[in-house]
Amino acid sequence: MKRHLIWRQALLASVATAGLLTITASVAQAASVPSGHSSTVLMADPPGSPSPGDGIGKGKGKPPKDVPETPYAAVFPVVIAGATWLVYRRRQRQRA
């Protein structure tokens, strides 16, 4: 496959993924599904204050905020399937 085609596909797939992310994140938020853990914890406390793991809500600064979660498990399989289909179809056309 030519390089410019790969990057064009990557761009298209990236746009599609961003759309998919937005939709799934909205659905997840609307459904208020339980979150097992937060991937990144953002706190306003200075260093040396209680750690994020055990200090959530106990620090003197602003209360910690969870970073918006990305539903990776909903997105990554679709990415793999979509990318496989794209490359498979292109290879088939090249061989036809």
Binding site: A10, S14, A31, T40, L42, T70, P77, A83, Q92
Partner: protein, 322 residues
């Protein structure tokens, strides 16, 4: 679409429908987890991927003479009664046998395939049937429990090294916590298991090998691609965290955690998968989805009987209605 292909597709859809219906209610937890940020969220994809794999295997191999040593209707009945007993035992003791009903899924699928396509078919689909066992959460959780600590430790090790290279990043006492300087104030950031790349690596380990089926390549090459994918996913994820730190330092927490954090991971994953497939998947495997059809009338009868059981059983044994 030719009539044969239509019949083939209908045959597959019927087979997969009957294989799935008895377990829909038992798989409720998987569906519930599917949009959560937990590693088990991937489990809901296992049956879909497994059925794709079974369908792929069926259409790749020519239809053979069916060899029934027992009548299909009898086989269907035995399978349905076996399933009834299995679900009853598993369903009545959910705390003792955690999600144990799901362990019957591959067995029931094997029986449905046997009834519809004959015994020799099982020799062609045993690998996707084994793969379907991954749907049982304890197996998957066991893998995650052993994989995640190593990924976390490696990620922390590299990020700690990175913190020595830049003056605005500081390692804190608690493992995986960092302070990023922004506008004279420190921002405290915690990097946990999900941030260590386990999501993308698990997706590559569990789903990517099946995607490679559609390309003609040796097992060694497939193994190499999956290993390369896992390695690159880990590296890409470390780069992702570094970029997030960098953005947090220069443009602040809003840009880092609200804009860049949710987007950069999937975008890197798209590029990674496309590059792997483009360079590794050279020759597409031939596919003809119409080669398998259900021709035997008695198989249709067995199918009908099994379908009735498959629809009635979940209603009778609804695990949530107990």
């Amino acid at each position: 679409m030719s009539a044969q292909r239509t019949r083939g597709w209908l045959s597959y859809l019927t087979a997969f429908g009957i294989s799935t219906i008895p377990f829909v209610l038992y798989a409720g937890r998987l569906v519930q987890d599917s949009l959560s940020d937990v590693p088990e969220a991937y489990l809901v994809w296992i049956p879909l991927v497994s059925y794709f794999w079974i369908g792929w295997q069926l259409q790749r191999t020519p239809e053979t003479e069916r060899s029934y040593r027992v009548a299909p209707w009898f086989l269907g009945l035995v399978a349905a009664v076996g399933l009834l007993l299995g679900l009853t035992l598993g369903g009545t003791a959910p705390t003792r046998f955690n999600d144990s009903a799901l362990l019957l899924w591959p067995v029931w699928t094997a029986m449905v395939m046997w009834v519809l396509y004959g015994l020799p078919t099982l020799a062609q689909i045993w690998r996707p049937l084994l793969y379907l066992y991954l749907v049982w959460p304890p197996i998957y959780i066991w893998i995650i429990d052993r994989l995640n600590p190593h990924l976390e430790a490696a990620a922390y090790h590299i990020l700690n090294g990175f913190s020595h290279a830049v003056p605005w990043l500081h390692v804190l006492a608690a493992p995986g916590t960092y302070a990023v300087d922004y506008a004279g104030k420190p921002i405290l950031v915690g990097v946990t298991a999900a941030c260590s790349g386990s999501d993308s690596i698990l997706a590559l380990l569990v789903l990517f090998p099946v995607a490679l089926l559609v390309f003609e390549m040796t097992w060694r090459r497939k193994l190499l691609m999956v290993a390369a994918g896992c390695g690159l996913a880990f590296i890409a994820n470390i780069l992702r965290i570094m970029v997030i730190f960098f953005v947090a330092h220069h443009w602040g927490p809003y840009w880092a955690f609200t804009i860049v954090h949710p987007l950069i991971g999937p975008l890197l994953f798209v590029v990674l998968v496309l590059l792997l497939l483009s360079y590794g998947g050279i020759k597409p495997a031939a596919a003809s989805w119409g080669v398998r059809t259900v021709a035997a009338r008695r198989a249709y009868m067995a199918l009908g009987a099994s379908a009735v059981f498959a629809v009635v059983l979940p209603l009778v044994l609804n695990p949530f209605g107990r």
